[in-house]
Amino acid sequence: MIRFILLQNRQGKTRLAKYYVPLEDSEKHKVEYEVHRLVVNRDPKFTNFVEFRTHKVIYRRYAGLFFSLCVDITDNELAYLECIHLFVEILDHFFSNVCELDLVFNFHKVLVLP
């Protein structure tokens, strides 16, 4: 089960956050910060799956943006990697050659997608 989807840039700014579990605002900020730290420091040679509290984070870096998905421990990671890729492709088609600014200015359109 997906718990949340985060799109963050390298500086830690969240470009998109969609939560599927209820969390307080302060918790959300904490989570975003922690995930960012976790993901930014990883070597590209390492696996795309990290353990995070009691769940897993599956992430991939596309240009300057990190797409992170937080899922349960028992889920199939490879399938979620495909999900992330699919999402990116959809964004690409939707905005024709999407870049980060597109996401920033059209966040209300992006939010509907996931």
């Binding site: 939560y19 209820p22 490879l78 495909e82 699919l86 920033v104 939010l111």
Partner: protein
């Protein structure tokens, strides 16, 4: 137009915020915008409402509080236009979550929208509901959603299915209503609906066992057919990813099949073919293919046993392992760990690859591989595996070393085929990573060494050699120092040489040198120094020629600032000088530590017998595979359910090695008030007399189970006698341990401290309760009470339950009773043991209230009472 309304468009605002250079600037801009929005809300400005909300959402994403916008969302949802509704729902999903009460107000609007003619609006409502609905909303709106599951438009059906998933998760009771519609969904052609239907089905099965049964019977075949069509389908551009048609559908189907097949043989049979087909035909050069294979393997592992399929699965995993991509390897290692419970043989074949993974650069892969290796070890492959691991230990990173060491040590302990190999390996580990080795481990090593009497010479020589080369590892130094102290003569005499050894000549002074350097080293900590001191004492007796030199070394610590060292130094000094006649007897070779009781203690399995004679039951299991002993179980973990004295291997070992410097937290022992200990000591050293018989001292036998564990400072200094402090007098009893062969004290039966009279706690016309007390002497605050219930009437009592309550300053722990049926007229008794800890010991006596409930002839009887007659000093 209102002058306060924000004329900026969304885009402009975003641009303005992004143009801010500092956080303060940004906050200013945001504040201005928020003010404008708030004003607009108050005015109920219709035109720009949706723009304002969009701005609000952006501000929310940046992290500023935006609660004032929530009512706006609701108004927007209620308005008739589609754009407004869209933004409204979006705002709803973003700014609120399911725990807010405001959500209830939305329910009605959502309901209306669900029945709207415009299907996009229906879609919007479903979406929002699926994201954020709470349990009450779910209950209210479930019938609507159910109806929509059969809507004509596939998109709506899809959204309705997703929504249902959430509803079921929130309110599992509603699951039954969804079973039938879902069965229809499973026959869809449209992939989108099919996927959601399958997901819904999976969740239904998880939530409700009836659903599971239903689907198992009716739908398994259909699903298998669908999967087969999918696998065999030709190229479909709509769903293609990397050459495979809709891998997501594949994966979901496999997952559902897994849920259906788990635990059910028929369903599993139906799936076998298709699983085999998927496993063999899927290409694995792309991630999508690998994802499918992974899911397939998981499914094969979970459904009922089928040898052929399992082998296939493990082969796939083996292929994964040699893949260059880290992700795949990680995933494979994970799965293998689960596979090993099922089929260990097959996994063994991939041992070499797994070993390679232990050395990988990625930390998470290393960890997984190590755990897997640990699970793979058995008697036949332990030697080569350990060799590999130990070699790797030398080159591994610091942070990984700790884990690695722990694992290696436990492997060695569990599977060592013979003692000499065990000692060798442990020496290697200690040399490399002694600092990471935990205390229990080198304690265990010492026990094993002492047990292997034929290997003493070999061991001590090997340790000596090791110490020459590396002296930085604390544990190594400690073990070496202990051994040299014990077996120094073997070292010098080259006794007991084994064929594989090279002869070395070590003179007595060399041996003393080594120990001296251990003391003098800056980095040695307290434990090491103390052990070195006692080793020197032993050497002074074994090597009389070096006695003088040893005395000088010992004397140097007379002025040490650490009490421990000072005390030892003084005491040993006086022994060396004045008590040569008893010295040799004092430091005689230690008797063999009983490995069995030691091992049994570590496994916390049974309270060991009170062995009272000296040097008893020394089994020398050679080549022991202590598979029962849980390795690295904390030796000081005294199990709760053994109130009676039981062997405390770890503790007495610590005493023996004279290293337990912490104040004893637990003492299961029997020895007494320190004063009594002093008397004993005094008597003891007036040689030949028996120690005082007044229950004061525990058996001097090392192997006896009742031991005291006061700070173990072997105190031999009698001349400082009268002022022996608490600490040292308790050590007197400890010293009794060392004086094994010497003290004529007869072995004492395990003694429970000062005897307290037993009391009749409660007596009524039909029931009597008697309490017997015992205390652990080191722990005066805790009393163990053994209660005996006797039935004084002529009816049998059944369902006997005893409850007790104590005031706040007491802590009560009740063990289960021996039974709950009390025969009549005192023909049998029920016993129950309690432990009471009195935090106000000495100031307030114990009190307790009782409640006893039982049945007589089916009738309930309740008796209550209070006990006030506890002995005063409990």
């Amino acid at each position: 137009m209102n002058p306060f309304s924000s004329g900026t468009r969304l885009r402009d605002m975003i641009r303005a915020i992004r143009a801010c250079k500092t956080a303060a600037e940004e906050r200013a801009v945001v504040r201005k915008e928020c003010a404008a929005i708030r004003a607009a809300i108050n005015e109920n400005d219709q035109d720009y409402r949706h723009r304002n909300l969009a701005k609000l959402m952006f501000i929310h994403m940046l992290g500023y509080p935006t609660h004032f916008g929530q009512m706006e969302c609701l108004k927007l949802i209620a308005s008739p236009g589609f754009p407004e509704k869209r933004i409204g729902y979006l705002g709803l999903m973003l700014l609120l979550d399911e725990r807010q009460e405001v959500l209830m107000l939305v329910t009605n609007s959502v309901k209306q929208d669900l029945n709207h003619t415009n299907q996009y609006i229906v879609g919007l409502a479903l979406c929002a509901l699926g994201n954020i609905c709470s349990a009450e909303m779910a209950r209210d709106l479930a019938p609507e959603v159910e109806r929509l599951l059969q809507f004509r438009d596939p998109n709506i059906r899809k959204k309705a299915a997703l929504c249902s998933i959430r509803i079921i998760k929130k309110v599992p009771d509603l699951a039954e209503n969804f079973i039938n519609p879902v069965a229809a969904l499973l026959k869809e052609k449209h992939h989108g609906v099919l996927i959601t239907g399958i997901q819904l089905c999976t969740d239904l099965c998880k939530v409700s066992p009836e659903a599971l049964e239903y689907f198992r019977k009716k739908c398994t075949d259909g699903l298998v057919r669908t999967l087969r069509d999918l696998v065999n389908s030709p190229y479909a551009p709509e769903y293609d990813i990397a050459g495979i048609t809709d891998p997501f559908l594949h994966i979901r189907l496999l997952k559902l099949l897994r849920v259906l097949g788990q635990g059910d043989a028929d369903a599993s049979d139906a799936m076998n073919d298709i699983l085999a087909q998927v496993a063999t035909k899927t290409e694995s050069n792309k991630n999508a293919g690998n994802a499918i294979l992974y899911e397939c393997v998981e499914t094969i592992m979970s459904i009922e046993d089928n040898g052929g399929l399992r082998v296939l699965a493990i082969n796939i995993l083996g292929r994964f392992l040699s893949n260059r991509d880290n992700n795949i390897r990680y995933v494979a290692l994970n799965m293998l760990m689960r596979a090993i419970t099922v089929d260990a043989q097959a996994v063994q074949r991939h041992r070499a690859t797994i070993l390679e993974c232990v050395k990988d650069s990625d930390a998470s892969i290393r960890k997984r591989a190590l755990e897997l290796v640990y699970l793979l070890v058995n008697e036949s492959n332990v030697k080569p595996l350990t060799k590999e691991l130990v070699d790797y230990l030398e080159v591994s990173d610091q942070d990984f070393k700790g884990d690695l060491t722990a694992k290696i040590c436990s492997i060695i302990e569990k599977f060592s085929p013979e003692k000499i190999w065990y000692i060798d390996q442990m020496l290697k580990v200690l040399t490399e990573a002694g600092n990471f080795v935990k205390d229990e481990v080198w304690h265990a090593l010492v026990v094993v060494i002492s047990n292997a009497s034929d290997l003493h010479g070999y061991t001590v020589r090997a340790l000596f050699r090791a110490l020459q080369t590396t002296a930085e590892q604390e544990s190594l130094v400690r073990v070496a120092v202990w051994c040299i102290g014990e077996y120094g003569d073997l070292l010098v005499n080259n006794a007991g040489m084994l064929n594989v050894e090279d002869p070395i000549t070590v003179t007595e002074s060399d041996a003393v040198d080594v120990v001296e350097s251990a003391i003098k080293r800056h980095a040695s900590d307290l434990t090491t120094k103390s052990m070195a001191l006692i080793a020197l004492l032993k050497l002074s007796s074994r090597f009389p020629s070096c006695s003088g030199r040893i005395k000088d070394i010992v004397v140097q610590h007379k002025g040490s600032l650490v009490l421990e060292l000072q005390q030892r130094s003084l005491e040993f000094n006086s022994i060396i000088e004045k008590h040569q006649n008893i010295r040799s007897a004092l430091v005689e070779r230690m008797p063999v530590l009983d490995e069995a009781s030691f091992g049994g203690r570590r496994a916390s399995s049974l309270p060991n017998t009170v062995s009272t004679s000296n040097g008893t039951a020394v089994k020398l299991p050679n080549g022991v595979a202590k598979s029962s002993a849980a390795p690295l179980v904390d030796l000081l973990d005294l199990s709760d359910d053994v109130p009676a004295p039981s062997s405390s291997g770890g503790d007495f070992l610590q005493d023996l090695l004279g290293v337990d410097l912490a104040p004893a937290t637990q003492s299961e022992g029997t020895s007494q008030a320190p004063k009594a200990g002093t008397d004993v000591l005094l008597d003891l050293l007036s040689i030949g007399s028996n120690p005082a018989q007044d229950n004061s001292v525990s058996t001097p036998d090392i192997l006896s189970s009742a031991q005291d564990h006061k700070p173990a400072i072997a105190s031999l200094d009698v001349l400082a006698a009268p002022s022996l402090t608490q600490a040292s007098s308790s050590t007197a009893s400890n010293m009794m341990d060392l004086l094994d062969g010497f003290a004529p004290a007869p072995p004492k039966p395990a003694n429970n401290g000062p005897a307290y009279p037993s009391i009749v706690a409660f007596e009524s016309s039909s029931l009597r309760l008697t309490f017997n007390f015992s205390k652990q002497p080191g722990n005066p605050q805790t009393t163990t009470i053994s209660g005996t219930f006797t039935n004084l009437s002529s009816n049998v009592f059944t369902d006997f339950v005893f409850q007790a309550a104590v005031p706040k300053f007491l802590q009560l722990h009740l063990d289960p009773a021996s039974g709950n049926s009390l025969p009549a007229s005192g023909n049998g008794t029920i016993t129950q043991s309690l432990k009471v800890t009195n935090s106000q010991h000495g100031k307030k006596p114990l009190v307790m209230r009782l409640r006893i409930a039982y049945k007589v002839d089916g009738k309930d009887v309740l008796e209550e009472g209070q006990i006030n007659n506890f002995p005063r000093d409990l």
